[in-house]
Amino acid sequence: MQKEYTVTVYTEDRIGITNRITIIFTRRGINITSLTTAETEIPGVYKFVITVMSTRELLDKVVGQIERLIEIHRAFVHEEDEVVYQELALYKISTKALHTAGDVEKLIRENNARILTITGDYFVIEKTGHQQELVDFIKKLEPYGLIEYTKSGRVAIVKWSRRFHEHLKELDKSVASY
């Protein structure tokens, strides 16, 4: 059955590595719904967090084919309950609306959002959470005249990742080859 999965991939820092990973999803006709990447606590090792709608059976094979790539350390598929994750959204609201429409303070408090900046024309609210919460917040902001909304991909920590990260730290001692 299709559902949302989180795929994490640990890679070397190489030009084109994103392409190498994504073409494996492309071959199997899997749409990537979000992709986030950044360097891990180990210098030179990058972590990709990819969300997809697919089946476990297919993703187990995809992950195997990703791991086959030379510059990939490991790749994993995670069910929803195996990861702690967050996404981040920014909302741009008209400052004029702020004066006219209701209690913004309450709205921000109740939704654990915060204001990043205020100008004469607009102000920007930041909120972290899961996809649905961030989308729901758009509706709540509509009376205030939402100008723009943008959301990041997922960042995720795997609940059972300790052993693997110890392995990564071991890697740190071996020099990345050319």
Binding site: T11, D60, R68, E71, L171, S174, S177
Partner: protein, 583 residues
């Protein structure tokens, strides 16, 4: 004649050694020295603008490296594949940027599918021009990413030796495959200090998996208790050099062995436990008995759809042990009850220690029954016809007999390939070279060239379809120029025979674009100064093959065969293996 140029360089090298200083040389020379350090003796290639500095450096290495000038870059890749498969070394091809690089694509994809170690070096426009649509610029890294085991663009001369070291290490280790190194022109001409260190370790890559002894024990228990065990022998057995270990397992427990297309020649065809060829056009008994066995021991094979037919019915009644070096192949198509992630040799050596001697006489007899059925219905009339046009199978039988099964057989793709694979009686390992996974028409002429370069002491016979021959026949120019003694046999039915067969069986005989009006192949060979002959009568066939084999150097024999001959047995695509047809 080039001695004058070579000598000062040698003297220079000696001087470098004495003074213990790193020589300062161009990137192009660094590449050549790196290739020599990797033991490269033969390169197949084609020059052009962006790779000219490398060809200029090559000029000074002619006493160490033999460059074969091909007639098309695709030919260079297939030749490098043939060379790799016959010699066990890494095949090397050179091409220029742009069209030179894109012409490598088919060969790279073929080598990737068939796990062939190959390093392709392409020239590239100068780094300053990258991404600007410069003359003959193409994004070869992007293009070849999904069809190479690894690729890299080198834009600085000092990075060349390490890139080459890594390329060779990756190409030949683990599950072998093709690697492409794209070198920008500025890096070829720029100077750098040269030092070469072989690559033996990449921290994100484990080509030698740790053997799981529990899996080995579990596999041994399954084998020791099986009533109808069955070994599938794949290409991985040949790549790992595990032919003896495989036979030890088979003989110890009296287990029949069937081969995949690329596994052919790992087990001698006349071995009493050899059960035949698996797959769509394989033998009747080994296919049917996949439905009867209670244990499959799949060694170095990947359950290609041409082997399994309908995967939902394939070996469903049996337990499966899968020995495979590429973890991504395990459970990809067929779920393994026990998976041993290792190369075939390591796994079989460990396994053989735990195997109890056993007999499976009744089980082995079932193969004989199936063989008899196939022989009576198909093979006898194919191999020993007395009337009508020449059959492909009788030609292959004669070639097999006259070469004593000891030639390197290179086949192209189609009916002739299936017939040759079915009826050539292989005696020695690594004597079957064909395009299995990709099914690349036009493979055999250049691959045979490479195979002969890789094993000059062996007879190399290419069996070619008339359609295939016309895809790469320009390589006759290479064969003539470099005096490569390959024997080429065209089985000419004036049809794209395999497609025609499918049209006959599955498309109501609507022969859409499969009939060929062919040229005079012998005249074409003559144009390249290659002797040849055409036979169409049965009584001339045997002596024509004798003449071909007796003629020194290259030879082209055109055999006109039955126009609408079909290959049987046949498992229709996607159907259960049990639906195999004998007619």
């Amino acid at each position: 004649m080039q001695q004058k140029d070579v000598l000062p360089m040698k003297a220079e090298k000696e001087a470098d050694k004495r003074l213990d200083v790193k020589p300062v040389i161009t990137g192009a020379e660094a590449l050549m020295r790196s290739l020599v350090a990797e033991g490269v003796e033969t390169i197949f290639g084609y020059p052009g603008g962006a790779i000219m500095p490398i060809y200029d450096a090559l000029y000074d290495f002619q006493d160490q490296v033999h460059h074969i000038l091909v007639r098309h870059e695709q030919g260079a890749t297939h030749a490098a594949q043939g060379y790799a498969r016959s010699s066990g070394k890494v095949g090397v091809a050179f091409a220029t940027s742009g069209p030179g690089a894109t012409n490598l694509v088919t060969g790279l994809a073929d080598a990737y599918m068939d796990s062939t170690p190959m390093v392709c070096i392409t020239g590239q426009v100068a780094a300053s021009l990258l991404g600007t649509d410069a003359f003959q610029e193409t994004d070869v890294i992007g293009i070849t990413m999904p069809i190479t085991k690894w690729n890299i663009q080198v834009t600085k001369q000092e990075d060349i030796p390490a890139a080459i070291a890594k390329a060779f290490y990756i190409a030949r280790s683990g599950r072998p495959g093709p690697v492409l190194v794209d070198i920008t022109k500025n890096a070829q001409v720029g100077k750098c200090e040269f030092e070469y260190k072989k690559c033996e370790f990449i921290r994100s890559y484990q080509p030698i998996p740790e053997l799981d002894n529990e899996a080995v024990t579990a596999a041994a228990a399954l084998i020791n208790s099986a009533k109808k065990p069955y070994i599938f022998c794949g290409h991985g057995v040949l790549i790992a050099g595990a032919e003896n270990q495989l036979l030890e397992l088979a003989e110890k427990a009296q287990i029949p062995v069937a081969s995949t297309l690329l596994g052919l020649s790992a087990v001698p065809v006349d071995h009493p436990l050899y059960g035949g060829l698996l797959g769509m056009h394989g033998n009747y008994a080994p296919n049917m008995l996949t439905c009867e066995c209670d244990l499959v021991i799949a060694v170095g094979m990947r359950f290609d759809d041409r082997v399994t037919g309908d995967v939902n019915t394939f070996v469903k009644q049996a337990k499966v042990i899968h020995i495979e070096i590429d973890a991504a192949e395990i459970n990809k198509i067929i779920r393994a009850d026990v998976a041993i992630h290792a190369d075939a040799k390591t796994a079989l050596e460990a396994l053989n220690k735990l195997i109890m001697p056993a007999r499976h006489d009744e089980w082995l007899k079932e193969f004989e029954v199936g063989h008899k059925k196939e022989y009576d219905k198909v093979q006898h009339r194919e191999l020993y016809p007395e009337t009508g046009e020449i059959k492909m199978a009788e030609a292959v039988r004669l070639i097999s007999e006259k070469t004593k099964g000891e030639a390197i057989l290179v086949t192209d793709v189609g009916q002739h390939q299936m017939i040759a694979s079915r009826y050539y009686r292989f005696k020695n390992p690594n004597t079957n070279i064909t395009s299995g996974g990709m099914g690349t028409m036009g493979f055999s002429v250049p691959a045979a060239m490479g195979a002969k370069m890789g094993a000059p002491e062996k007879e190399v016979v290419a069996v070619i379809g008339d359609g295939c021959f016309q895809m790469t026949l320009q390589e006759l120019g290479t064969i003539y120029q470099s005096q490569i003694g390959v024997k080429m046999v065209i089985l000419n039915n004036n049809f794209l025979g395999m497609v025609r067969q499918w049209q006959q069986l599955f498309f109501d005989k609507r022969y859409s674009s499969t009939e060929m009006t062919n040229p005079d192949f012998v005249q074409i060979a003559k144009g390249f100064f290659i002797p040849g002959k055409k036979v169409s009568a049965r009584e001339d066939l045997s002596s024509a093959i004798d003449e071909m084999l007796a003629t020194p150097g290259a030879y082209l024999l055109e055999i006109v065969v039955e126009k609408e001959d079909n290959v049987f047995p046949m498992v229709p695509a996607g159907a259960p293996v049990s639906s195999i047809r004998l007619e």
